[in-house]
Symmetry: C2
Subunit: 385 residues, 2 copies
């Protein structure tokens, strides 16, 4: 971690695991440069999406061979929704909540706009999801942990409700994978998707993942039926025939440099128990909430106070949150801002401890107590993230 | 280039430009590791898809601001087809040819399967495309240069025929960009897509590109409406509103390491005139055909003999092409094989000269004349590419 930085934004972009540059350099100079096209076979590039998928799967309670990497999370959401709708041809509603990440909603909107008349994205408040799962819902799509507040849905309960109403369940684990224990198989959901550049530290633009419940993987219809999801891509048949299982959710040529960075980053998790990570994360969050509420009264807790329904982040509301966050970042305390007024802080025990939390709160106290955020330079919304 | 290799497969995966590893290492150790989340702003990661798009655009005759990078080619094909169909709501046919890359056809098949009844992918022989463009065709989708034979469609003529019939034209430039001069603006087509890991040397899994004719960019409806194609992604609106112009074809978080590798690779093209590249490529191809037909009579030319309707590759048919290609690769002459019987050789004058061609043909003569391919080890189809 750079000198003088307390990094509380691993929930947006995880830091670089130390061994990543050497690995990626090796892929460039020893594989790409030397093996050229032969790298697809000799260096195993072609099987990376499945192998890395297995490494991710181990952290989220998914069995071997049920997760595959590729594309971006938005594309994976599209694949899951399209396949989910196909499984319920007599229904036309995608149900989500307004705590979902906007891109998931946009993707659903785009899909609905493409389909015949009558398809609909229905969005309710997070607390109203349970009662909104009616008999007309084809697919329930939710993000387990709210990107703004950290509020956590109960995957198992909601999935049961979806199934009781005859709907397909799609979970977005963007803020879950590597952050909290996830029992994907135990949840019984049909689909899950997520990204790997947050808590999994895969690097900017790291590949996303998709999971299909194994009993359904051979019947899920891929809408994005690209050649690498074909049963025999190198036969160059003119007709599409999906590969067996989760491999059918591959689309195009995998981004080998990003896959290698992610594969290397996943090694950090060897032997790590997510229960231990969770326990340490909750301790850091509880300390943070306590110290902020004691020393920085200008901020109002936006996250659930009950740790059992909170992910691995703590958010506070402040009217001038954008400027305040710039002032903090300028002083080495890096969190981020989410419109309209959320200051977001992620807790990642792999590289944070209690002393970091105390140091961060001291800076927050200084910035807020002395109105250091009240500076024109911090108010210009020039940032793109 | 590695010792003892004549690389005739730059049409599948271009070699690594020398300066790429240093650039990518810098992105990791100076940007990701040091700037962390701030890299999106400070290092300009967020604007890379547009900036690299402009660099690619310059090579294919596309104006500034009309090309954007991202995803894989299959995903870009999907976006172009979906937007194209929306432009012709009264028509339901996508027309293509069986010389198109199978993934393009698969993607069209997947899209058609998702839409309401009546949509159809119609595939004809390449030479029958012109007369098949009827009044029921919504979108004509073709790859300019056939991946197997190198046979080249006339973009301008076919686009005119498509427009005369009221259809939207989508060109796949996978085997064109960096290989032959392309006048995209002059062709008047509505959409174009392509990949960058072939002649543009962007690396394995390098991002794809998409172009929309500028007068239509503000009305193209993005089916894959991800947040980075939103007019204001960081407002986190609940409703999708497409960005102005080509930016709406962005989907999710860009793969920064791959973008940096590609951006660096594009510098090779600074000051390069595609007309010169084409002239040198044709000279190499003509030499290759002449020498192969003189010295390797076992092979039958599969590419057009007329260079004006051929891309930047030369293909030969041979019944045991798979084994023969393995034998060649084993001896340092790297081309590739495309089922059922095509031996494919790409010509890339940026790093090949006449002496390379002569050296390659000498090896081919040895392998074919002495039946060195007739070896069980070469017949096992273990390769995935």
């Amino acid at each position: 971690m750079p000198e003088g930085v307390v990094y509380l934004d691993g929930n947006s972009l995880g830091p670089m695991p130390k061994s990543v540059p050497e690995r990626v350099a090796g892929v460039m100079t020893e594989e790409w440069a030397q093996m050229l096209i032969r790298g697809w076979n000799k260096a195993g590039w072609m099987s990376m999406p499945s192998e890395v998928g297995n490494a991710v799967g181990r952290l989220i309670g998914a069995a071997e061979g049920t997760v595959v990497m590729g594309d971006t999370l938005s594309v994976k959401v599209y694949q899951a929704l399209a396949a989910g709708l196909k499984m319920r041809p007599d229904r036309k509603v995608i149900l989500s909540d307004n705590g979902n990440f906007p891109s998931d909603l946009y993707i659903a909107e785009g899909l609905v706009g493409l389909l015949e008349q009558g398809y609909e994205l229905r969005t309710v408040d997070p607390e109203d999801v349970a009662e909104a799962i009616g008999e007309d819902v084809a697919v329930v799509m939710l993000t387990e942990v709210d990107y703004r507040t950290g509020r956590k849905h109960d995957m198992k309960t909601v999935t049961e409700l979806a199934h009781a109403a005859g709907a397909v369940m799609v979970w977005d684990l963007a803020h879950s994978a590597g952050a909290i224990p996830v029992d994907l198989a135990g949840s019984n959901c049909e689909f899950a998707v997520g990204c790997t550049y947050k808590y999994l530290n895969g690097g900017p633009g790291a590949p996303a993942f998709i999971y299909i419940r194994p009993d359904l993987a051979d019947e899920a219809e891929p809408a994005l039926s690209g050649w690498l999801g074909h049963a025999s891509p190198f036969d160059f048949d003119l007709n599409y025939k999906p590969a067996k299982g989760i491999e059918r959710m591959r689309v195009g040529t995998p981004p080998v440099l990003q896959m290698a960075a992610l594969e290397e980053a996943m090694k950090v998790w060897d032997g790590v128990d997510m229960t231990d990570v969770r326990q340490a994360s909750v301790a850091l969050q509880e300390q943070f909430i306590k110290e902020v509420e004691r020393d920085v009264p200008e901020l109002t807790l936006a996250s659930p106070r009950d740790a059992s329904i909170r992910g691995s982040q703590v958010s506070f509301r402040f009217e001038h949150g954008y400027a305040a966050m710039q002032a903090l970042i300028d002083r080495g305390v890096i969190g981020d801002f989410r419109a309209p007024d959320i200051m977001r802080f992620g807790f990642t025990p792999l590289y944070l401890d209690g002393a970091n939390v105390t140091a961060a709160v001291a800076v927050m106290k200084d910035v807020m107590g002395n109105n250091l955020w009240d500076n024109e330079a911090y108010k210009v919304k020039s940032r793109v993230t």
